[in-house]
Protein backbone atom coordinates (compact mmCIF):
# COMPACT_ATOMS: atom_id res chain seq x y z
CA UNK A 1 0.00 0.00 0.00
CA UNK A 2 3.03 2.31 0.24
CA UNK A 3 2.81 2.88 -3.50
CA UNK A 4 -0.49 4.73 -2.96
CA UNK A 5 1.28 7.20 -0.66
CA UNK A 6 3.98 7.86 -3.22
CA UNK A 7 1.56 8.23 -6.12
CA UNK A 8 -0.74 10.50 -4.10
CA UNK A 9 2.15 12.73 -3.02
CA UNK A 10 3.43 12.87 -6.59
CA UNK A 11 0.07 13.84 -8.06
CA UNK A 12 -0.56 16.51 -5.42
CA UNK A 13 2.84 18.01 -6.13
CA UNK A 14 2.11 18.00 -9.87
CA UNK A 15 -1.05 20.02 -9.21
CA UNK A 16 0.82 22.40 -6.87
CA UNK A 17 3.52 22.85 -9.50
CA UNK A 18 0.84 23.73 -12.04
CA UNK A 19 -0.15 26.57 -9.72
CA UNK A 20 3.30 27.74 -8.64
CA UNK A 21 5.46 27.27 -11.72
CA UNK A 22 3.85 29.94 -13.92
CA UNK A 23 4.04 32.53 -11.14
CA UNK A 24 7.38 31.66 -9.53
CA UNK A 25 9.47 29.26 -11.66
CA UNK A 26 12.29 29.05 -9.08
CA UNK A 27 9.91 27.92 -6.33
CA UNK A 28 8.63 25.30 -8.79
CA UNK A 29 12.12 23.90 -9.16
CA UNK A 30 12.54 23.72 -5.38
CA UNK A 31 9.15 22.07 -4.95
CA UNK A 32 9.87 19.42 -7.60
CA UNK A 33 13.24 18.77 -5.96
CA UNK A 34 11.61 18.26 -2.55
CA UNK A 35 8.98 15.94 -4.01
CA UNK A 36 11.71 13.93 -5.74
CA UNK A 37 13.68 13.65 -2.51
CA UNK A 38 10.58 12.50 -0.62
CA UNK A 39 9.85 9.74 -3.14
CA UNK A 40 13.51 8.68 -3.16
CA UNK A 41 13.45 8.42 0.62
CA UNK A 42 10.60 5.91 0.43
CA UNK A 43 12.48 4.04 -2.29
CA UNK A 44 15.61 3.87 -0.12
CA UNK A 45 13.45 2.33 2.60
CA UNK A 46 12.44 -0.42 0.18
CA UNK A 47 15.96 -1.06 -1.12
CA UNK A 48 17.57 -1.96 2.23
CA UNK A 49 16.29 -5.57 2.38
CA UNK A 50 17.51 -6.12 -1.18
CA UNK A 51 20.99 -4.95 -0.22
CA UNK A 52 20.95 -7.21 2.88
CA UNK A 53 20.02 -10.14 0.61
CA UNK A 54 22.85 -9.31 -1.79
CA UNK A 55 25.34 -9.21 1.07
CA UNK A 56 24.16 -12.57 2.47
CA UNK A 57 24.27 -14.22 -0.98
CA UNK A 58 27.77 -12.89 -1.66
CA UNK A 59 28.94 -14.18 1.73
CA UNK A 60 27.56 -17.65 1.02
CA UNK A 61 28.98 -17.66 -2.51
CA UNK A 62 32.35 -16.60 -1.01
CA UNK A 63 32.50 -13.71 -3.49
CA UNK A 64 34.83 -11.12 -1.97
CA UNK A 65 32.85 -8.24 -0.47
CA UNK A 66 35.05 -5.82 -2.38
CA UNK A 67 33.09 -6.44 -5.59
CA UNK A 68 29.71 -6.14 -3.88
CA UNK A 69 30.78 -2.87 -2.25
CA UNK A 70 31.86 -1.63 -5.66
CA UNK A 71 28.49 -2.55 -7.18
CA UNK A 72 26.68 -0.74 -4.35
CA UNK A 73 28.93 2.28 -4.81
CA UNK A 74 28.17 2.36 -8.52
CA UNK A 75 24.42 2.10 -7.85
CA UNK A 76 24.72 4.97 -5.38
CA UNK A 77 26.58 7.16 -7.87
CA UNK A 78 24.05 6.42 -10.60
CA UNK A 79 21.22 7.13 -8.14
CA UNK A 80 22.51 10.55 -7.12
CA UNK A 81 23.56 11.54 -10.63
CA UNK A 82 20.04 10.69 -11.78
CA UNK A 83 18.51 12.96 -9.13
CA UNK A 84 20.61 15.93 -10.12
CA UNK A 85 20.23 15.31 -13.83
CA UNK A 86 16.42 15.01 -13.75
CA UNK A 87 15.92 18.08 -11.57
CA UNK A 88 18.19 20.13 -13.82
CA UNK A 89 16.42 18.94 -16.97
CA UNK A 90 13.04 19.61 -15.31
CA UNK A 91 14.09 23.20 -14.65
CA UNK A 92 14.87 23.57 -18.35
CA UNK A 93 18.68 23.48 -17.97
CA UNK A 94 19.51 20.74 -20.48
CA UNK A 95 23.20 21.70 -20.61
CA UNK A 96 23.74 21.31 -16.86
CA UNK A 97 21.76 18.08 -16.88
CA UNK A 98 24.01 16.52 -19.50
CA UNK A 99 27.11 17.70 -17.61
CA UNK A 100 25.88 15.99 -14.45
CA UNK A 101 25.14 12.86 -16.45
CA UNK A 102 28.62 12.95 -17.98
CA UNK A 103 30.19 13.31 -14.52
CA UNK A 104 28.20 10.30 -13.30
CA UNK A 105 29.28 8.13 -16.23
CA UNK A 106 32.95 9.08 -15.92
CA UNK A 107 32.92 8.42 -12.18
CA UNK A 108 31.31 5.01 -12.68
CA UNK A 109 33.93 4.15 -15.27
CA UNK A 110 36.67 5.28 -12.89
CA UNK A 111 35.17 3.21 -10.08
CA UNK A 112 35.06 0.05 -12.20
CA UNK A 113 38.76 0.15 -13.21
CA UNK A 114 39.77 -2.58 -10.66
CA UNK A 115 37.10 -4.90 -12.04
CA UNK A 116 38.34 -4.40 -15.58
CA UNK A 117 41.89 -5.26 -14.58
CA UNK A 118 40.70 -8.34 -12.67
CA UNK A 119 38.74 -9.54 -15.70
CA UNK A 120 41.70 -8.90 -17.98
CA UNK A 121 44.03 -10.89 -15.78
CA UNK A 122 41.53 -13.75 -15.58
CA UNK A 123 41.17 -13.83 -19.36
CA UNK A 124 44.94 -13.68 -19.91
CA UNK A 125 45.45 -16.48 -17.40
CA UNK A 126 42.93 -18.58 -19.38
CA UNK A 127 44.64 -17.85 -22.69
CA UNK A 128 48.19 -18.28 -21.47
Amino acid sequence: MEIAKVVAAGLVVVVLLGVIRPQRPEMGVLLSLVAGVYILYTVIGWITPVIRLLEDLSLQAKVSLQYLNLILKIIGVAYLAEIGCQVARDAGEGAIASKIELAGKVLIMALSVPIFSAVMQAVLRLLA
Partner: protein, 64 residues
Protein backbone atom coordinates in the same frame (compact mmCIF):
# COMPACT_ATOMS: atom_id res chain seq x y z
CA UNK B 1 11.73 13.09 5.99
CA UNK B 2 7.97 13.36 6.11
CA UNK B 3 5.41 14.84 3.76
CA UNK B 4 5.35 18.05 5.82
CA UNK B 5 8.39 19.41 4.00
CA UNK B 6 6.42 19.33 0.73
CA UNK B 7 3.63 21.35 2.30
CA UNK B 8 6.13 23.82 3.76
CA UNK B 9 7.79 24.50 0.42
CA UNK B 10 4.45 24.66 -1.42
CA UNK B 11 3.14 27.06 1.23
CA UNK B 12 6.16 29.32 0.90
CA UNK B 13 5.83 29.26 -2.88
CA UNK B 14 2.15 30.17 -2.92
CA UNK B 15 2.64 32.82 -0.21
CA UNK B 16 5.49 34.45 -2.14
CA UNK B 17 3.49 34.37 -5.36
CA UNK B 18 0.49 36.06 -3.72
CA UNK B 19 2.52 38.71 -1.90
CA UNK B 20 4.53 39.37 -5.06
CA UNK B 21 1.46 40.07 -7.16
CA UNK B 22 -0.17 42.15 -4.38
CA UNK B 23 2.92 44.32 -4.00
CA UNK B 24 3.26 44.57 -7.77
CA UNK B 25 -0.32 45.88 -8.00
CA UNK B 26 0.51 48.42 -5.29
CA UNK B 27 3.32 49.67 -7.49
CA UNK B 28 6.13 48.62 -5.05
CA UNK B 29 8.13 46.49 -7.50
CA UNK B 30 11.34 46.65 -5.47
CA UNK B 31 9.61 45.43 -2.29
CA UNK B 32 7.93 42.69 -4.29
CA UNK B 33 11.27 41.49 -5.63
CA UNK B 34 12.75 41.52 -2.11
CA UNK B 35 9.89 39.40 -0.81
CA UNK B 36 10.38 36.95 -3.67
CA UNK B 37 14.09 36.73 -2.87
CA UNK B 38 13.34 36.20 0.82
CA UNK B 39 10.91 33.41 -0.02
CA UNK B 40 13.45 31.70 -2.21
CA UNK B 41 16.18 31.88 0.45
CA UNK B 42 13.90 30.41 3.13
CA UNK B 43 12.83 27.59 0.81
CA UNK B 44 16.44 27.01 -0.24
CA UNK B 45 17.46 26.77 3.42
CA UNK B 46 14.89 24.04 4.04
CA UNK B 47 15.79 22.21 0.82
CA UNK B 48 19.52 22.29 1.49
CA UNK B 49 19.05 20.74 4.95
CA UNK B 50 16.85 18.09 3.31
CA UNK B 51 19.37 17.31 0.57
CA UNK B 52 22.13 17.06 3.19
CA UNK B 53 20.06 14.50 5.08
CA UNK B 54 19.41 12.53 1.87
CA UNK B 55 23.10 12.50 0.91
CA UNK B 56 24.07 11.24 4.38
CA UNK B 57 21.53 8.43 4.10
CA UNK B 58 22.66 7.47 0.62
CA UNK B 59 26.30 7.60 1.73
CA UNK B 60 25.73 5.20 4.60
CA UNK B 61 23.49 3.01 2.46
CA UNK B 62 25.78 2.55 -0.54
CA UNK B 63 29.10 2.94 1.31
CA UNK B 64 29.93 5.88 -0.96
Amino acid sequence: MTVDVIWQIAGIGILVAVIYSVLKQAGRDDMAWLVALGGVTVALWVVIRLINQLFLTVRTMFQL
